[in-house]
Symmetry: C2
Subunit: 398 residues, 2 copies
């Protein structure tokens, strides 16, 4: 049987290929600590569960294709509190930020088109772009420059007549980079001047350690260019709820994407009810407490990593990931070694090898992405295991 | 800004374009009865709500990309009870049958490819196919032949080197046609002989008035060809739960589609828990009671329609829709008339004009799809309104 060229250009998740090895380790009774996954352990807020419990209808009916009224209004209220008033018609509710990304790419990209994205990038971006027949053109960054990408010198030479969009994550996954106001403004300018979409994945918006939250929606002169990808997954620690949204003032894009929303009928009804309740009841003190918790976690992992010889990284500014450079020949080999051959006090550790975040895997060979979504003491121990593992790996090789 | 050629070939839902006119009628205080929508009023079974209430974890985490273990095992058990044993690895959990259709098409169709589908067809099929760059090639049927399509004479002349699949709905939406065992066997044979996928959308599987339930998965010699689209939406009256699945023994297709599942991370966690509970606790008596209810509804609408002069249709065999031919020049114009100019005792009625179910809208001009998802007495009154409306419309025209 024949498969599409497009799906063949998509790849299995680079993180998930280690799962069988993890399972084997677990089956041997080894305790595996995780720096590899972005699943926070913070409880999903109670209003989510309460709203679903109190749903009050006896039929779980289709929701409207663009989202339930209560959820769309809740999102509108949230953006108003951010200082960014939008209309209800600027919002389409999707299955997580993922479906919003998928819809945007399907609306703007054809076979052979190009989407610029700073590298290293979130690996699933490749699927969303490749399945349209387009490809990601990486905006190269370096560890030495702290993975910063927002400059005319880096971006403008890459723009061709096939370029359709600049796709960014801000705050950054996997880099932890947060755009400065000047960098944000510049990206909006570049998009406007070159008639490109600026697809800004802002699902980690509130997790900015310097405290200054922003959104690309603020640039009204780039209203036709800016598309924001948003989600309740990270904001409210509810990844499995799969409630996301696409927000843009470009009404033609909304009209095109609405066709795709109608095609799949609607996003889940109950989950929208729960998500609306979180937006409507959680206030500044909730966001503040989450930021404080991630700050403690960041401080713990940074402090622990600074003790490891030969490990380097840039201070993370936002989200709950960053890239680290490790003193090994190949972080994938290191990961296999940690799962198959290494233990310390019957424990080992997982991270996300850097190769999966680069279009050319060779570029990520000495890098890893670490996620800090567990308690500070867990992170300290996980990094200790990483250090011991690197030492054992390099001694074995030597 | 430029949009993809693919999305521009997709269309807004042909049913939804009447919503503003419905709203205007409602705003005038008119009561609108519905023969247009497939949202059953049957309560979602209590086990769904109970399982979600008793979820028992305080974080709504990501589910595994192919589905939660409890849901996948529940589906496996359901198919075993159907007499069709499958492996867990044959199942991918999706956001409704819709996402399963989307993933299958993305896996098998490239720009210029062709998907055969009997016409009239479910309008959203067009979106799922067109967004890949492929197109639907209709297998023509006629009202006179009761919309039957499963014959070599109708299908084989349409097969070209660009044909990738035959896409069917069985039991049929919008036609109510149920394949005979011979017809099913023939479709599996054609798919096998021509090396095509047979994508069989069986979301209405249990609603067969002659009582004989089947699935294309029964043909083991066509195991590589058959892909079943399934969902809890209609089976358990839980359309808004958005829990569906793709089931196939073609492991290469599973592998390709799994990349897309991983790309969007997972389907909603809580809803899978609720759906699993319905599969695991509802027994034959549930399916029987639902079938009895739809039989009463079918009998009511058929009896009412048979009284209308000039209206013709084939007895519906399954699902809860069928096509009717109406004695008017244009069913879309009739629908606008019913919403804007007609009332009887301050009521009017909506149906789905036939044009939206044909690649060439002209072919559906004197046809309509009716859905019978409400109580028998409601259906009787809705059909009465339709008859009075047709009369008023034709007198006005004359």
């Amino acid at each position: 049987m024949k498969f599409s060229k497009k799906v063949q250009r998509c790849e299995q998740s680079p993180v998930r290929k280690f799962y069988p090895y993890e399972k084997a380790a677990l089956d041997r009774g080894v305790h595996v600590r995780h720096l590899n996954i972005g699943q926070p352990d913070i409880p999903t807020p109670q209003p989510f569960f309460d709203a679903i419990r109190n749903f009050g209808k006896n039929v779980v009916e289709y929701a409207p294709a663009p989202g339930t009224e209560i959820f769309v209004e809740a999102v509108q209220g949230y953006y108003a509190r951010l200082g960014c008033p939008i209309e209800k018609e600027d919002i389409l509710t999707t299955f997580g930020g993922s479906e919003a990304l998928e819809f945007v790419m399907e609306c703007i990209a054809d076979e052979g088109d190009e989407i610029l994205s700073p590298e290293p990038f979130y690996p699933n971006y490749t699927s969303f772009v490749n399945i349209t027949g387009a490809k990601i053109v990486p905006i190269p960054t370096t560890a030495e420059e702290g993975y910063r990408y927002a400059s005319r010198e880096k971006i403008e030479p890459l723009i061709t007549e096939r370029t359709r969009a600049i796709l960014i994550t801000n705050p950054g996954n996997p880099t932890g980079v947060v755009l400065t106001p000047e960098e944000s403004r510049l990206l909006a300018d570049i998009a406007r001047e070159h008639n490109l979409f600026l697809v800004s994945d802002e699902v980690y918006r509130e997790i900015v350690y310097a405290g200054k939250i922003s959104t690309m929606l603020q640039y009204e002169d780039a209203a036709e260019n800016v598309v924001v990808i948003d989600s309740v997954s990270k904001r409210f620690s509810s990844c499995g709820a799969r409630v996301g949204m696409m927000v843009t003032r470009n009404r033609e894009l909304i009209g095109q994407a609405l066709k795709l929303c109608q095609g799949r009928l609607c996003a889940a009804t109950l989950e929208q009810t729960g998500a609306a309740a979180m937006y409507n009841t959680l206030d500044e003190s909730y966001y503040k407490s989450i930021l404080e918790e991630y700050t403690r976690r960041r401080d713990a992992i940074v402090t622990a990593l600074e003790k490891l010889p030969g490990v380097s990284f840039t201070q993370p500014e936002g989200a709950f990931y960053f890239m680290v450079t490790l003193p090994v020949d190949d972080t994938e080999k290191l990961q296999y070694f940690l799962l198959e051959e290494f233990t310390h006090n019957n424990e080992t550790v997982m991270f996300a090898p850097g190769a999966g975040f680069y279009s050319d895997p060779a570029m990520g060979r000495n890098k890893a992405r670490v996620a800090y979504v567990t308690a500070p003491e867990d992170l300290t121990r996980a990094v200790e295991l990483l250090g011991l593992g690197i030492q054992a790996y390099n001694e074995r090789k030597g």
